[in-house]
């Protein structure tokens, strides 16, 4: 290459690099944009953007009450956007939009995903006065005890739940009856009860497990129910926690966790009652090949949406407890709260508060029409909850049960436990070794 051309190339490259660096230096700071100062002219119509995670049975109700809210508040417009299919994609889209300053004014979000937003002040606290309460305590006491805990950060409540969920045990009555069992009496009360039931309900044909009595979810790509919430609940029944009281050290390698994981490993390797390679348990359930599966109250609507015949033959029973459980509680709770964007204008935030009030004022309809539990005290004492099949079971399982950890590293912590589970059920790694590794990974995150 001739030298002048080389110099020119060097010069051009330098120019482009200079340009790149200038652009980096000149990028706008990632701070929320400030709104224009109010003027004397009448305020223009307020249009808010509301994002919601995807759950088809709820969307029509949301629209109905949004229309009512708009009718009651002339000048208010609401753009209702339903996010992509699964939580992970929705959260990615939401957080990216918020980071880019294009986020919605109010939005639903999984309680465990909210911690990073809460820690960084990206959402505002709930205005309990606008919701008609004198204090946060008054608002909290209008809900079933403990059901708002996952939406609080440092003691402040940031959202009203449009769904509080807990996993209980779904049961296919027909498969029970086909095996000569009485679903009302023979359902498993303890984890230990699952083994004799598996002996009766599992069907093996040509070496293949054609029907399973029960199977865990193992965090496989098709899973719609988190195994970590179940396992944390099982360990909690034996007195186990995820982290110590100070939140400085993981406790996932303690005896309650070891016993829980050992049970799951034995289920797969020793007893061969389940298999992570097979169709995931929830799908197997509505396909009619799994007699019992663990899921939330929303799963009934989901089965109905899949037009599965199992919808007519299913029931829900309490999550099994250990025979020697110290805490007779269920799987860890989670919820979807409606949060308000801190970067939105005060007018929009106020409209969002009003909309939240409207959307949270109809827990009966959300329960009967969408199968979603908004656990107000009034609802829990109403006849409606008795009329909706199985709902009392979920509500009972919530009593005394904690929420999954509200922590900025919540997903990474859950992933560490999930990976330990997969090592245990797909590699047959010794349980203690797998959990020691999980503890070390979580400790690193807690630093």
């Amino acid at each position: 290459m001739r030298k002048p051309y080389f110099r020119l190339m060097v010069a051009s490259t330098l120019a482009v690099l200079v340009l790149g660096l200038v652009l980096v230096a000149c990028q706008p700071a990632a701070t929320p944009t400030t709104e224009a100062a109010p003027t004397d002219t009448p305020p223009p119509p307020v249009k808010i953007l509301y994002w919601s995670h995807d759950f088809p049975p709820r969307a029509d109700l949301d629209r109905e009450y949004m229309d009512k809210f708009k009718a009651d508040n002339p000048g208010v417009e609401i753009e209702y956007v339903i996010g992509p299919g699964n939580d992970s994609e929705y959260i990615t889209k939401l957080v990216t939009a918020l980071a880019g300053g294009e986020g919605p004014d109010c939005f639903t979000l999984l309680s465990m995903a909210a911690a990073p937003l809460l820690a960084q002040g990206s959402v505002i606290p709930l205005d309990y006065k606008l919701l008609g309460y004198d204090s946060q305590e008054a608002l909290e006491t209008s809900y079933v005890e403990g059901t708002l805990e996952g939406l609080k950060y440092n003691g402040t409540l940031y959202a009203i739940p449009n769904e509080v969920s807990i996993y209980s045990l779904f049961l296919n009555k027909k498969l029970f009856e086909d095996a000569g069992l009485d679903p009302a009496a023979d359902y498993p009360k303890t984890w230990e009860d699952l083994r004799p039931l598996a002996e009766k309900l599992n069907l093996v044909e040509g070496g293949q497990l054609k029907q399973r009595a029960f199977d865990f979810t193992y965090g496989m790509p098709d899973d719609i129910t988190s195994p970590v919430l179940t396992l944390a609940g099982m360990a909690y029944q034996l007195g186990g926690t995820v982290v110590n009281a100070e939140g400085t050290e993981a406790t996932v390698n303690t005896e309650p966790w070891v016993r829980t994981f050992q049970f799951v490993q034995d289920w797969v390797y020793q007893d061969k009652f389940g298999d992570p390679a097979l169709t995931v348990s929830n799908i197997g359930f509505y396909e009619g090949t799994v007699a019992m599966t663990i899921s939330g109250s929303w799963f009934s609507s989901y089965i109905k949406d899949q037009q599965s015949p199992v919808y007519d033959t299913h029931t829900v029973v309490p999550l099994p407890r250990w025979s020697d459980a110290t805490n007779p509680t269920g799987a860890f709770m989670y919820s979807y709260g409606i949060f308000i964007n801190a970067a939105s204008s005060p007018e929009k935030q106020q409209v969002c508060q009003g909309l939240i009030k409207e959307l949270s004022a109809h827990p009966e309809r959300y329960l009967t029409d969408a199968g979603l539990l908004q656990p107000t005290l009034a609802l829990s004492q109403s006849s409606t909850i008795q009329e909706v099949p199985n709902m009392q079971v979920f509500l009972n399982d919530m009593v005394g049960t904690p929420y999954w950890l509200v922590h900025t590293e919540t997903f990474a912590i859950a992933d560490a436990i999930g990976r330990a589970l997969q090592r245990v059920v797909t590699e047959n790694q010794p349980v203690q070794e797998a959990l020691d590794q999980a503890k070390s990974e979580i400790d690193e995150l807690l630093k």
């Binding site: 002048p4 051309y5 110099r7 020119l8 060097v10 010069a11 051009s12 330098l14 120019a15 482009v16 690099l17 200079v18 340009l19 790149g20 660096l21 200038v22 652009l23 980096v24 000149c26 990028q27 700071a29 990632a30 701070t31 992970s88 959260i91 990615t92 957080v95 990216t96 918020l98 980071a99 990073p116 937003l117 960084q120 002040g121 990206s122 070496g207 293949q208 193992y218 965090g219 496989m220 790509p221 298999d275 992570p276 390679a277 097979l278 169709t279 900025t408 590293e409 997903f411 990474a412 992933d415 990976r419 330990a420 997969q422 090592r423 797909t426 590699e427 990974e441």
Partner: protein, 314 residues
């Protein structure tokens, strides 16, 4: 955009000043015009390649949780990278995937190209058949292969009797990476086959005629004419397939989500997890830059090796 214009003018002035001769010199004027003509392309690259890269480098030096502004943290992310076991695992998985995919892709696509380059009835149909997987979205391919890999699915129906057991292709740690490699090879060979066919068609027929006159057999034709003259095409295939392998994301995301327990977690997926699941954008950027450097070094090494060998034939 004013910043862009100013930077471009600065660049031009810089380019002119570095060159010591007067700018009105006919050669320099010609070069200057050349530079002006490439400016649109340079601007495009500056905006969509250099700027994001410079920005990623800046972010990699910060603690950036996506929602709040980045806070400068020096080389902390890079230091963490050295201690991160999951990074080492995903890096190892990435190399395994690249190495496992690349060699079969090169060999099979070249073999197919040699087979299908000749003239025979139905040639275009067969070529199209091999190319069809390329035009199918990676997501769709993943969904189809997930069904194929089901414990009671077609793959086990075929292989089960031979093996004497039914492997769990996607949930067994030792099998899942290879299951994804096989799928990648299946989808990719059609594309590289086409590149090789184009390369083969560029070899003048007279070389073969001359060699045949000299008594060369088919093997000798392949060894002494086809393969040497296919070197530029081979280099292209090698570079592109390696880069493509290092960037693999869709299959792992769709089929296993990196599991079981990180057995199929590759760098691109690990970057995604850090950026969008754990909201650790600073660390994700550091990972991206390391990945960039790895690909860059490997590409340069490949170029160096192939060019030095080219010299042997010059």
């Amino acid at each position: 955009m004013p910043n862009t214009s100013v930077s471009l003018i600065m660049g031009l002035v810089l380019a002119t000043l570095i060159h010591k001769r007067p700018w009105w010199n006919i050669y320099n004027r010609r070069r200057l015009w050349g530079l002006i003509f490439v400016l649109p392309a340079l601007t495009f690259f500056a905006l969509f390649a250099f700027y994001p890269m410079a920005n990623a480098f800046y972010i990699s030096l910060t603690e950036y949780r996506l929602i709040s502004p980045p806070v400068f943290s020096g080389l902390e992310n890079y230091a963490h990278l050295l201690e991160d076991q999951r990074f080492r695992i995903s890096l190892g998985n990435t190399f395994l995937f690249v190495a496992g995919s690349a060699v079969p892709i090169w060999v099979i696509s070249l073999a197919l190209a040699l087979l299908l380059a000749g003239r025979f009835w139905g040639r275009n149909f067969v070529r199209t058949l091999y190319f069809v997987p390329v035009i199918i979205s990676g997501v769709v391919v993943s969904m189809v292969w997930r069904v194929l890999y089901h414990p009671y699915g077609p793959v086990n129906a075929l292989l089960g009797p031979l093996l004497g057991f039914a492997p769990n292709w996607l949930t067994q740690r030792n099998l899942a990476p290879w299951a994804i490699v096989a799928m990648n090879v299946w989808q990719s060979v059609g594309f590289y086959m086409l590149i090789f066919i184009a390369g083969l068609q560029n070899i003048p027929e007279v070389f073969y005629d001359a060699a045949k006159v000299d008594g060369a057999n088919r093997r000798q034709l392949l060894r002494h004419i086809t393969l040497p003259l296919l070197k530029p095409t081979t280099l292209f295939v090698m570079v592109i397939s390696l880069i493509d392998g290092f960037q693999s994301f869709t299959y792992q995301y769709m089929l296993t989500k990196g599991g079981p327990s990180d057995a199929t977690n590759v760098i691109a997926l690990y970057i995604y997890q850090n950026a969008f699941q754990y909201l650790n954008m600073g660390y994700a950027s550091a990972l991206s830059l390391v990945m960039f450097v790895i690909i860059m070094v490997l590409t340069l090494v490949q170029l160096r090796i192939v060019r030095s060998e080219e010299g042997l034939y010059a």
